[in-house]
Symmetry: C2
Subunit: 368 residues, 2 copies
């Protein structure tokens, strides 16, 4: 079935292929933007003395993960045991499994991992009991009230760290994820993030561990991690995933390297989906041939590079609001920028990496 | 990479495997419910004298599509040229491509199809010009004002049918899709649907075609198609897709064979996702290990078979609101029902078909 990958021509991709000859819709990675983002983030981490464990769940792609390792990534992050196993099969030798692992099958997957330096999170004695027989390196997870996983109470976190120390696992440090804070304003988010980071620092300083790891930092607030935790008596490990393609939506708005960014560097949106205009059935409306099957919709609708606005998606269609006098025609091809790379990557098993003129330079595969 | 399919154990699935040994999350198909739904819908179509072209886009699974054909499906429906090619590779010999096909690459895919009886939709002279060199069987598409694709104007539809007749393609009938009407009430939806069906009948009656095809009918309102169009001087072809697994959400609410159904038959929800409780970080909150990567969220959140309610999904986590005194524990495994099968199927490359006790009877593969 290799030839039946959505977004590739029947018979596969030949040298010199151009994506305008592909059956649409097709997702593409802009070769230059992808390289720029890989270089930019690697350089930022190196120059600020922080380690980088880019989140593999964003792409689950051997080609991209290997480029991240080639740019000096210290580890790759996974969200599930199954992802950890896939990353190990890509050749990754150090993995942060940034989640609790509690079910029998997932624990067995970890037990079967080849020679990998594995870090796991725990946020309860119950989760510790389940994972500690594997003797992993353990990071105690802190969380925010009203947030996701992670201990809300710092004394309980310290007590859990002591439990880790007393058992067969190895206490390695502190973890959290700050990317899902949702205050009404960006300033409010930054305040919540900084509060969490200060709690991490306080806990890390109390751990009976030499050179602890303090890992936090998605693609939205990693500048705060560097500002608050950089230079401390620990190793800071960022886990950003979405930086690798960036976007024209949520991350472009939130990232320190986005359009309105807090930093001086800029990431470039590298992931696009191309689709034709299928129909102009009434004034002001056009339908394009991409839908929920092809592009993320959970953090904002796709953004056409055309005088049009996406108002809704069905499984295989996008509704475009267009001006009364629009010259958009049936058959016209539109490039869409996306919001939230993770949930666009997982809709494609192969993604061409393209030059500006649409010539395919390379293919990226995904394993979701 | 065959062994690294999400939802299967490392090393693959062996005889007698039980999904409670799989790394979670895992999606499953209830073997009995799946068989029940296949039989129920096939029997309904046969007894009402309508043809059935189940929508292949729901599952894109060779195993399920072949069972649909085995139950007497007249054709299989596709949403894109690429899907049509994949369905042909499954052995499907008659395909309704229920969409416009306008881009060069997709037209080439259709040109390369093996010996398939292909039906295409057109809703504009522009779309006809693009597809007619392939000499397909053409269905003129009607649509509702404010809706998706399809001609709003019946005179224009008749004129387009005449254009088809005058060109190299073969005029075959009329198509529409009624499943996306969105009146404030179910009664309002049914009125809109019936109006569209009467327009289809009027157009079909005027076509210069012996025995025209009139095709419409998703999984929500197919009873109205049978009631309004059944017994006319045409062949009625239903295109339901979601019936095959049904759900506990949108389709259970809308389908004539759902919980509050208008018909006497009942479909059963056959598609589930299983995930463990990862964390209980504060009173009233539990996190489970499934997210947008694993289950649809576009037509309602997953429904746990537990005293809990899903309030939100991240990529890999579900937030569960639980009662103050909940005895849900870290490591407990919960079965989730889903809303909208299409966007759950596309998150899995393999889905075990299981007996009530979790024993794997079979595997279903998907090609999205």
């Amino acid at each position: 079935m290799g030839e039946w990958l959505k977004g590739t021509p029947a018979g596969g991709v030949t040298a010199g292929a151009n994506i305008f000859d592909f059956p649409l819709p097709v997702a593409t990675l802009d070769a230059d933007a992808l390289s720029h983002n890989l270089t930019t983030m690697a350089g930022y981490c190196a120059s600020h003395g922080v380690l980088f464990a880019p989140h593999g769940k964003t792409t689950m792609s051997p080609e991209i993960v290997r480029r991240q390792l080639g740019h000096g990534a210290w580890a790759i992050t996974a969200a599930t045991a199954w992802q950890a196993a896939v990353l190990a099969s890509f050749g990754v030798e150090r993995i942060i499994l940034a989640n609790q692992v509690v079910d029998r099958g997932s624990l067995q997957v970890l037990r079967n991992l080849p020679d990998v330096e594995l870090y796991c999170l725990v946020d309860s004695p119950e989760a510790l009991r389940l994972v500690e027989p594997l003797k992993p390196r353990v990071l105690v997870e802190l969380g925010l009230p009203g947030g996701r996983t992670g201990l809300r109470d710092d004394a309980a976190a310290l007590a859990l760290a002591a439990e880790v120390e007393a058992g067969p696992a190895t206490l390695a440090g502190v973890a959290a994820f700050e990317g899902i804070v949702a205050a009404p304003t960006l300033a409010g988010n930054l305040e919540l993030v900084d509060g969490l980071l200060h709690r991490m620092a306080a806990l890390a300083a109390q751990l009976p561990v030499d050179d602890p790891i303090v890992t936090v930092g998605g693609s939205a607030y990693f500048d705060r991690v560097v500002a608050v935790l950089g230079g401390g008596p620990w190793r800071v490990v960022l886990r950003s995933g979405c930086y690798v393609t960036h976007d024209v939506g949520a991350y472009d708005e939130l990232s320190p390297f986005g359009a309105a960014g807090r930093g001086s560097l800029r990431l470039r949106d590298a992931l696009h989906v191309w689709a034709p205009v299928l129909s102009r059935p009434e004034p002001g409306l056009a339908l394009a041939g991409l839908g929920r099957r092809d592009v993320s919709a959970d953090a904002g609708l796709p953004v056409p590079r055309a005088a049009a606005r996406v108002t809704a998606l069905n499984d295989q269609h996008a509704y475009l609001s267009i001006p009364a006098g629009s010259d958009l025609r049936v058959g016209d091809i539109i490039r869409f920028g996306i919001s939230h790379p993770c949930t666009t990557f997982d809709k494609w098993r192969v993604i061409p990496v393209v030059a500006a003129d649409g010539t395919v330079r390379d293919l990226v595969h995904t394993y979701f």
